[in-house]
């Protein structure tokens, strides 16, 4: 047994202590492990009300954290919410259960362009939840100079005014874009090329935050930053002084999915939840609360013209957007590079 999981040992120790959960009587219950600020409580309550299945809801703020936790608690979660590159990775490692589309009739509501994603042809293991972009949000009352791309953000004059996602791969990809390198071409040589640029940028950033950058932008603690489009859309809804820009050097999108991990204790509950959130009315609630790009065509018909005109939620079709792919062990190189830079080396 060359490869094994930390969780296995922990589980063994726990079962020795007589705390093994499998000895308890099984009751139907959905263990949902999802991104923070992404699944409205109303939707979870609505699901429990309709199906009678209670939901245990845990959150994470990066795909990597989700994976680590998933591996250390095998057979615990029923439903996870990985982004496209993580779906690719999970499929490769055989960590996902196929999704039975016949149990989820509402997949028909998804727009055709989301039904055959390149990371999971034919949606065998994943069903899109929401999509979105990573871009620049800024307060136009404070920032008067034009903001077109990353290089306009990371300028010394904005030192201490910038917020950025606390996600190593994201930050590295912005620098790769600026240097004109493919964001999925993460090699030691390319990382060496972007290192000096990243070192300069990190000094300018005031706050790293992936959970929710809205309060800091809203209160004026920071004036601009690189954020998820959903947070930007929410800021724009609240105040038109906030603007959202897709970086000129190269922008990328993400597609977050609902997937069932291998050995999920309650696959039926997971599929019932997927089917539930794909109802147009439910999907609309998600869009109202977290205005990302909704892949649900039937739900989009229920949105207001203002919601559909929000440039952060629904960017123009003309922009070319890349997506992340699984980069395997290069993740460790990114982690090492960022540890060095963030410790001032």
């Amino acid at each position: 047994m060359k490869h094994f999981h930390f969780g296995l040992i922990v589980a063994t120790v726990l079962s020795l202590a007589g705390c093994n959960r499998s000895s308890q009587k099984q009751q139907q219950r959905l263990h949902l492990f999802a991104w923070s600020e992404y699944v409205p409580q109303e939707v979870i309550d609505g699901f429990t009300k309709q199906t009678g299945i209670p939901v245990d809801y845990e959150v994470y703020d990066s795909n990597e954290k989700m994976l680590t936790k998933l591996l250390s608690s095998p057979g615990h979660y029923d439903l996870i919410q990985p982004s496209e590159y993580m779906v690719e990775h999970l499929i490769k490692r055989g960590l996902l259960e196929p999704v039975d589309q016949s149990a989820i009739p509402n997949v028909g509501n998804l727009l055709p362009e989301y039904r055959n994603p390149e990371y999971d042809p034919g949606m065998k293991y994943s069903v899109p939840y929401m999509a979105g972009t990573v871009g620049i949000a800024y307060n136009s009352d404070k920032i008067k100079d034009p903001i077109r791309g990353y290089q306009d953000v990371f300028q010394p004059k904005y030192a201490g005014r910038i917020i950025a996602l606390d996600d190593n791969r994201e930050i590295v990809s912005w620098a790769l874009d600026v240097k004109g390198i493919d964001i999925n071409d993460v090699t030691p040589a390319n990382l060496a090329k972007v290192k000096p640029l990243l070192a300069d940028w990190l000094k300018l950033i005031k706050i790293f935050n992936s959970d929710d950058p809205k309060p800091q932008l809203f209160s004026g603690d920071v004036d601009l930053g690189v954020v998820y489009c959903g947070d930007a859309a929410k800021l724009i809804e609240q105040d038109k002084k906030f603007k959202y820009v897709l970086p000129a050097e190269g922008a990328h999108r993400f597609i977050d999915n609902l997937c069932i991990p291998k050995d999920a204790p309650d696959k039926q509950a997971a599929e019932a939840f997927i089917n539930y959130i794909l109802q147009p009315e439910v999907s609309k609630i998600i869009s109202d609360k977290f205005p990302y790009t909704n892949p649900n065509g039937a739900a989009r018909k229920l949105l207001t013209p203002q919601q559909l005109a929000n440039p952060a939620s629904y960017p123009p079709d003309s922009v070319h957007l890349e997506i992340f792919h699984d980069i395997g062990k290069a993740n460790a190189d990114i982690s090492q590079l960022m540890t060095e830079l963030r410790n001032g080396r």
Binding site: M1, K2, H3, F4, H5, F6, I9, V10, V13, A17, S62, E64, K65, L67, T68, K69, L70, L71, S72, G160, D166, N168, I205, K206, I207, F208, N209, Q216, S219, G220, D221, G328, K329, N331, A332, S335, T339, E340, R342, N343, G344, R345
Partner: protein
């Protein structure tokens, strides 16, 4: 601590029988399950190799420990020691007078005063840390107060930028650990016999001299316990550092969390954990040794 020895009825001391050991068994079980076993797992893992997120190659290697001795991680340890050291010193400087005041207060009031020290524990420390965000941010309560008092712009030209700086981290650390310094010092102060201070004064020692020659040595066991109770957890602090510094200042605890949660290099995270454990043992050894010596001296 001659009083303590005198009070102990030596003739009644007997070795506990098997029933007595049974009373102790839950503690031993608890330690074995939640301290010894996890530490053993950490130790074993620290000799493996991380293979991508969450996977492990079980061939023996010392590579993880070698990696700790590279400048990046040595800096990290050094920074953690500095922050924890500064926290301990500030807590002692602030905590000692407070503990003294409570310990010397009339017995009827001590309970209430101690209660005031304990009240913060009734809320989660994360919630209390988030409260600091509201107080310290650029347009927060503290700067609002300075403006209302016209200290901005007379004394300070613009709102103070405290949040997301090392100062903010220090404020949160001292705030979090202060009670852990006050309580053990209070215990020592309470036990201190006032007639000894009077004797020092009668024999001609001024206030400064009696403090450093009589009071401090006699209350040193409390101070030593306080140092241990502040320094050890402060060095491994995480989350609070991240929240208060906006992710800028990383201490060893943050890095271990990152290795386990984000980077997924469990063996390296384990090795960092073991290094931290060794640091704890050294701290304990130094402070306990020092405390014991003072005790003998007294």
């Amino acid at each position: 601590m001659t009083q303590a020895v005198a009070i102990q009825p030596a003739s009644n001391v007997r070795r506990p029988g098997w029933r007595g050991s049974g009373l102790f068994a839950p503690m031993v079980t608890w330690l074995a399950l939640f301290v010894v076993a996890p530490t053993a797992i950490l130790l074993v893992y620290s000799f493996f190799t991380g293979e991508g997120i969450g996977e492990v190659d079980t061939h023996f290697t010392l590579e993880n420990y070698r990696r700790i001795f590279t400048p990046v991680y040595l800096d990290l340890f050094w920074r953690s020691i500095l922050y924890a050291g500064a926290t301990t010193i500030l807590c002692a400087l602030i905590g000692y007078p407070v503990a003294w005041y409570i310990g010397r207060a009339p017995a009827s009031r001590r309970g209430k005063l101690l209660m005031l020290v304990m009240i913060p524990f009734m809320t989660s420390f994360l919630i209390r840390t988030y409260a600091w965000l509201i107080i310290l941010h650029e347009h927060g309560l503290f700067n609002g107060f300075l403006e209302a008092a016209h200290l901005i712009p007379t004394v300070f030209s613009h709102p103070l930028n405290i949040l997301y700086t090392p100062t903010a981290v220090m404020i949160a650390l001292v705030y979090t650990y202060l009670p852990f310094m006050i309580l053990p010092i209070y215990t020592s102060v309470e036990k201190l016999d006032p007639s000894l201070i009077e004797a020092a004064a009668d024999l001609g020692a001024g206030p400064t001299r009696s403090f450093f020659r009589v009071i401090l040595p006699l209350t040193w066991p409390g101070v030593a316990a306080g140092i241990l109770m502040v320094f050890v957890p402060a060095i491994a602090m995480f989350a609070v550092t991240k929240i208060m510094s906006g992710g800028h200042i990383r201490l060893i605890g943050d890095e271990i969390q990152e290795q386990f949660e984000g980077g997924g290099d469990l063996p390296f995270g384990s090795a960092l954990g073991m290094a931290l454990l060794i640091l704890f043992l050294v701290t304990y050894w130094i402070s306990a040794g020092r405390g014991a010596k003072e005790l003998r001296g007294a």
